[in-house]
């Protein structure tokens, strides 16, 4: 019997999700023994044309990491969707946009200007910008189109399952692969479509080793400004921690070592918007009934949008509202 086929792909990705798969260490040999790896640009030398030549649905499982921000990412998302029986949004970028989608707070032009001309480490006096088509003496060179907005995988194509995390933790990745192997080997039923795999169904706080007393606070502090108590909840100590608005699954990795949760496992179960959930969570720890004092306390939260949606900007509810051209700071602005 031929082996089930496995594909892994990276779109707008940092590569961390690819490395995370290798973090399962020698278990990768079990993966290789069970699956026929038919496409994995970072590790195996198959080309896009090999995928294009496959029958539709020929790939049994495709782990797709990275967000969708170029026409090429979009093409690959649709291609792999067509060729795969199961398409998994793997990692925060594919699940909800992650770091690449933070650029949704600004425009394509502003992003390109910064990256190719204005950043301090760039010398580009003629402001040469990437073109989708360039004629050269040796022929025509084409580049993918850079999109105005970064999208998650489900915003461009149909997704079967989600594995959150930036990157997903190795033990969770192996758990998912092991479950898939078991399902395919023993003809077991698949979990319902849309299931979040490799994560918990609570919040990060539920896995946190710290003691939470739901204290009220008079001011927020940033992590580099204090030496946090090793056993108390960070939020109780006035440090912005995304734990209450974040899905469990990592085992409380950051909070266990004294770093606040940044929210990489995405929105908590039963909530779609990490930011508005965080507004409710943070507001509830503020110890004041006085508008002016509340404002002063809130001044301690630097960049609420970037902090609350660091990993889920592509799915931010308010991101749907179209406002005018952004000002030079890169923030949107109405006027």
């Amino acid at each position: 019997m031929s082996k089930p086929k496995l594909a892994l792909y990276w779109a707008a990705s940092c590569g961390g999700c690819e490395i995370a798969v290798l973090d399962i260490k020698e278990k990768i040999l079990d993966v290789d023994a069970f699956f026929d790896v038919v496409f994995w640009p970072v590790a195996v030398d198959f080309k896009v044309k090999d995928v294009e030549a496959m029958e539709d649905g020929e790939i049994d499982l495709c782990l797709f990491n990275g967000a969708v921000r170029t026409s090429d990412n979009d093409y690959m998302a649709h291609l792999l969707r067509r060729k795969s029986k199961l398409l998994v949004a793997f990692g925060s970028c594919a699940c909800e946009g992650c770091i690449p989608a933070l650029s949704n707070t600004t425009t394509k032009t502003a992003t390109l200007d910064w990256v190719f001309a204005d950043s301090p480490s760039t010398v580009n006096p003629d402001r040469v910008m990437p073109q989708t088509v360039t004629e050269t003496p040796v022929g025509t060179i084409e580049l993918p189109e850079f999109w105005e907005t970064v999208k998650s995988l489900e915003q461009v194509t149909d997704v079967d399952y989600y594995v959150p995390g930036c990157p997903p933790q190795a033990h969770q990745i192996w758990g998912v692969l092991e479950a898939v192997i078991d399902i395919l080997e023993n003809d077991k039923p698949l979990p319902p479509k849309g299931t979040v795999l490799g994560a918990g169904d609570k919040t990060c706080c539920d896995e946190c080793p710290r003691e939470r007393q739901e204290k009220k606070i008079k001011g927020f502090k940033r992590i580099h400004e204090v030496m946090p108590d090793p056993d108390q909840c960070l939020l109780d100590q006035g440090i912005v921690c995304m734990g209450p608005a974040t899905r469990s699954g990592c085992g409380g990795l950051c909070v266990a070592v004294g770093v606040p949760c940044r929210g990489c496992y995405g929105p908590a179960p039963n909530s779609k918007d990490q930011g508005t959930k965080m507004v409710a969570a943070l507001a509830s720890v503020i110890d004041s009934d006085d508008p002016e004092e509340i404002e002063r306390i809130l001044d301690g939260i630097v960049d609420p949008v970037g902090t609350f949606y660091r990993f889920s900007m592509a799915h931010a509810t308010l991101g749907k509202v179209v406002v005018g051209t952004p000002d030079s700071s890169g923030n949107g602005g109405e006027s």
């Binding site: 707070t105 609350f308 406002v323």
Partner: protein, 151 residues
């Protein structure tokens, strides 16, 4: 119980093509909704672009509701609860107050003018205040113009 204008239907002489803002107002059941109802009973007219959603307490206002209203095409959102100290559930409006200030920062962070989100306290006897709030907000949103939403 209805609270929107109960003026008799009249055929408008000219069909207006003027843009009419969409304002969503979340009113707590015990004070503000009753206040708006009083305005209705007293036949005080207020701007019809304000659409009321009744919630049991302003403290029930999940910030997600506000985000959702904007994402579904609201040009402005009002949250109204009992005056401080008067909340039927004791603390609900203080909770709202704290959420509101942070939510406003979030809304502004997305480039939306903070004036499009308003928090007021309206008691059950303040029909006039409710009408004035609604009219003021409608005028402000008319001046700011529409917000567009991507699909």
């Amino acid at each position: 119980m209805t609270t929107t204008t109960e003026a008799p239907l009249r055929e408008p002489a000219v069909v207006s093509t003027e843009w009419r803002p969409r304002i969503i107002a979340f009113l707590c059941n015990w004070c503000s909704y009753t206040g708006a109802d009083l305005a209705g009973i007293s036949r005080i007219q207020w701007d019809p672009s304000v659409n009321i959603v009744r919630v049991m307490c302003s403290g029930r206002m999940d910030p997600t509701f506000v985000a959702k209203a904007f994402s579904m095409g609201a040009d402005g959102v009002i949250i109204s609860g009992c005056h401080p100290g008067d909340c039927h559930y004791q603390e609900g409006n203080y909770k709202t107050l704290r959420r509101f200030h942070l939510l406003k920062r979030l809304v502004e962070g997305f480039g939306i003018d903070g004036e499009r989100l308003k928090l007021v306290w309206v008691s059950a006897s303040e029909g006039d205040e409710w009408a004035a709030t609604a009219n003021e907000m409608a005028a402000k949103i008319r001046a700011l113009g529409p917000l567009e939403v991507s699909s």
